[in-house]
Amino acid sequence: MAEIELATPTPKAERAKPTEMVQLIVFRLGDEDYGIRIEQVKEVTVTPEVARMPKTPPFIKGIANLRGDIIAIIDLEERFRLRPAGRPLPERSYTVAVEAADYTLGLVVREVPRPFTLPLSQIEAAPEFVQDAGTRDKYLEGIAKLPEGGIIIVLDMRKLLTPSEIMRLPGRAASK
């Protein structure tokens, strides 16, 4: 229960193939299901002890020690304004460690994430939302409509993970 072992990332194939399958790690944010391509996920684990870090926005819950790596833990529910900011973490939560080019980031989620495979063709490009309809739209790869009903919002972590996007600080403190 403590850890969900992940398969090695599948090599990228051509997108055009209709039978191409996509593996997602799916988790719940607010009342919606979100997914991240498994090749962008490093591991899923029970959230380790998180140390609050001063000088960071409230949606950054703090830093945690993940196997010797110190990573930032982020609450996407607050980042996407699905919940009010500044809530304490529950007793047990899960962290999806996602990998950027040169660092790792932890996304904290409240329910156990699960792997999910679907044909790539089921993911539809994100509809044109109004620009400022909500921060999350910028990070969408698309939306997967499931045959049995329901949708999964597929996030593109590479867009979310630029440091300036994550921090979105109102300007650096005038400490220099």
Partner: protein, 546 residues
């Protein structure tokens, strides 16, 4: 302690043993195939190199044997001799002799006599038959074993050492954790094992740190040329004295301070030292003196740049600081020498009257400060007008482990590197006064501003800090006095936890932009502990004080 001669000697030994091994290998090949061209070429080349290197080291007898063998292999290669009959025996004896001589060099023993061998090699070169003495060629087991020796020196990329050091850092963190758990569980066998693990990893850490040490001379020895160039461009005469080249320091630390030291030395020659004329008028010898020295002080390494030049004109710096708006005229008037000199290391602050090529186009000494800050080092300045200036870089010997003081604030631990801490105080509210909205206490006849650490950590936006009050102060206040660039600042914390050695891990993106934290460390409990960056805290306080 490694001097350059010693370094050459080690290189020579390492390569000679390698050559010797290759020679033995190629000889066996020749035995199987006497006309193997590549093997002959290689033997020729190896003999040639060994000869050249041995002569450069002054091991002439060794060079002589290699020279004779080189000549002989040249003849075999050119098919004037064949690798057959008694020649084979002499060649093997020759290569064995080389091996013995190399080993003698390594053991600092006199080289064995090779007269008989050289005579035989001469005979072979001349085309005569060698004189073989059956009696002195018994191959004992011991001799056969000697051929198996490998070089006892390896070359390793710094990157690999960095990696090793990081792994040891992690091991030490886990070790502390295991130790804490073992103490909690209280099983004697577990505790004994944990203690053993503790000692071993301590030794391991020490060994890895030791492997990364180099002599400061590696850097200092580059300066005679620099000084000569700058001095001649400025038409000055400078006598440079180096000392302490053997003082050991982590190779990466030396790398990081290279530019800083270059800057200080250029600055000393082009601004510190006067022209010949000026020196003459001041009654000084026309030759300026510059000393670059390294020494150890407790766990630190000090590198000093000392000149006997004009010294720092404190009043000129004071005026310049006011002109540049770094301080107000009123405040400047109250600053002591050290505080004034600290302005020299502010970004862009330069005292250069004329911007010369050498002194870096007006770039100030802030690069020095930045390099030191990144290492958790300190800079000391001593100067006397007309007599000279000494800059002292205080550096850690190793980057891996730093002494730190752990303090607690709002139930969380924070680490402050000892290099930046002066003292801890427990002050009663009566010992604290309010001056211009800032808490102040007097310590060692100096007014030291105090600020709640909480305020600095949670400061947001561009507003100044709130005016200080003593209203909510009850009981003794725990104050950690930190020191940066000769500025003291007292941080109010909840309590002091303990002093301990920590391994600092850098913060990874995206959090590495928050400059108040120099990194994180993991405590024995597994708890993540932020390391405070005293320079950044001091700068923040100076920018935000009401």
């Amino acid at each position: 302690m490694k001097t350059r001669d010693q370094e050459y000697r080690e290189l020579f030994m390492a390569e000679a043993l390698e050559y010797y091994d290759s020679m033995s290998r190629h000889l066996s090949e020749l035995e199987r195939n006497p006309n193997a061209g590549p093997a002959l070429n290689e033997l020729f080349r190896l003999m040639h190199n060994l000869k050249a290197n041995a002569r450069a080291m002054g091991f002439n007898d060794l060079g002589e044997v290699a020279h004779h063998l080189e000549t002989l292999f040249g003849l075999i290669r050119d098919q004037e001799r064949t690798f057959s009959g008694p020649l084979i025996k002499v060649v093997f004896t020759g290569v064995d002799a080389l091996g013995n001589m190399i080993r003698a060099v390594g053991a600092n023993q006199p080289l064995p006599d090779a007269t008989a061998l050289l005579d035989n090699l001469d005979r072979l070169v001349r085309g005569e038959a060698p004189i073989l003495d059956e009696a002195d060629a018994p191959e004992t087991e011991e001799e056969a074993n000697k051929k198996m020796e490998l070089s006892d020196l390896v070359y390793i990329q710094v990157k690999k050492l960095d990696n090793l050091l990081n792994l040891v850092g992690e091991l030490v963190i886990d070790r502390d954790r295991v130790m804490t758990l073992a103490q909690e569980i209280g099983n004697p066998a577990l505790l004994a094992t944990a203690q053993h693990l503790f000692r071993i990893s301590d030794d391991l850490q020490y060994s890895v740190m030791d492997a990364r040490l180099v002599g400061v001379g590696v850097l200092l020895n580059k300066f005679p040329r620099v000084v000569r160039d700058v001095a001649s461009a400025e038409d000055k005469e400078v006598e440079l004295t180096l000392s302490g080249q053997d003082v050991q320091i982590d190779r990466n630390i030396l790398q990081i301070i290279t530019d800083a030291l270059l800057h200080l030395v250029r600055n000393a020659v082009s601004h510190g030292l006067e022209t010949k004329d000026q020196r003459h008028k001041a009654g000084k010898s026309p030759i300026g003196h510059l000393t670059l020295s390294a020494m150890t002080e407790r766990d630190d390494v000090l590198i000093q740049v000392r000149d006997d030049g004009r010294g720092i004109d404190t009043e000129a710096v004071r005026r310049k600081a006011v002109e540049r708006g770094l301080t107000t005229a009123n405040a400047a008037a109250t600053l002591d020498e050290q505080a004034v000199w600290a302005f020299l290391f502010e970004p862009g602050f330069s005292m250069a009257q004329q911007v010369t090529d050498i002194s870096g186009r007006g770039v100030g000494l802030d690069v020095v400060k930045l390099a030191l800050d990144s290492l958790g080092g300190q800079l000391r300045v001593e100067s006397q007008l007309g007599v000279g200036t000494t800059f002292t870089l205080v550096l850690p010997t190793s980057i891996a482990v730093k002494g730190a003081l752990l303090v607690e604030l709002d139930d969380r631990p924070y680490a402050v590197p000892l290099l930046h801490t002066d003292t801890v105080l427990a002050l009663h509210p009566g010992q604290i006064s309010i001056v211009g909205g800032v808490l102040v206490t007097h310590f060692q006849e100096q007014a030291v501003p105090l600020v709640p650490l909480r305020q600095l950590l949670h400061d947001e936006g561009d507003e100044l800090l709130p005016l200080a009050t003593k209203d909510d102060m009850t009981g003794a206040q725990q104050v950690l006095v930190v020191n940066y660039n000769n500025r003291r600042l007292g941080l109010l914390v909840d309590r002091f936890i303990r002093q301990q050695n920590i391994v600092i891990k850098p913060l990874s993106k995206p959090l590495d932009t928050i400059d108040l934290f120099g990194g994180v460390t993991l405590l024995g409990s597994g708890q993540v502990c932020l390391v405070l960056d005293v320079p950044a805290l001091t700068r923040l306080f100076l920018a935000k004080r009401p």
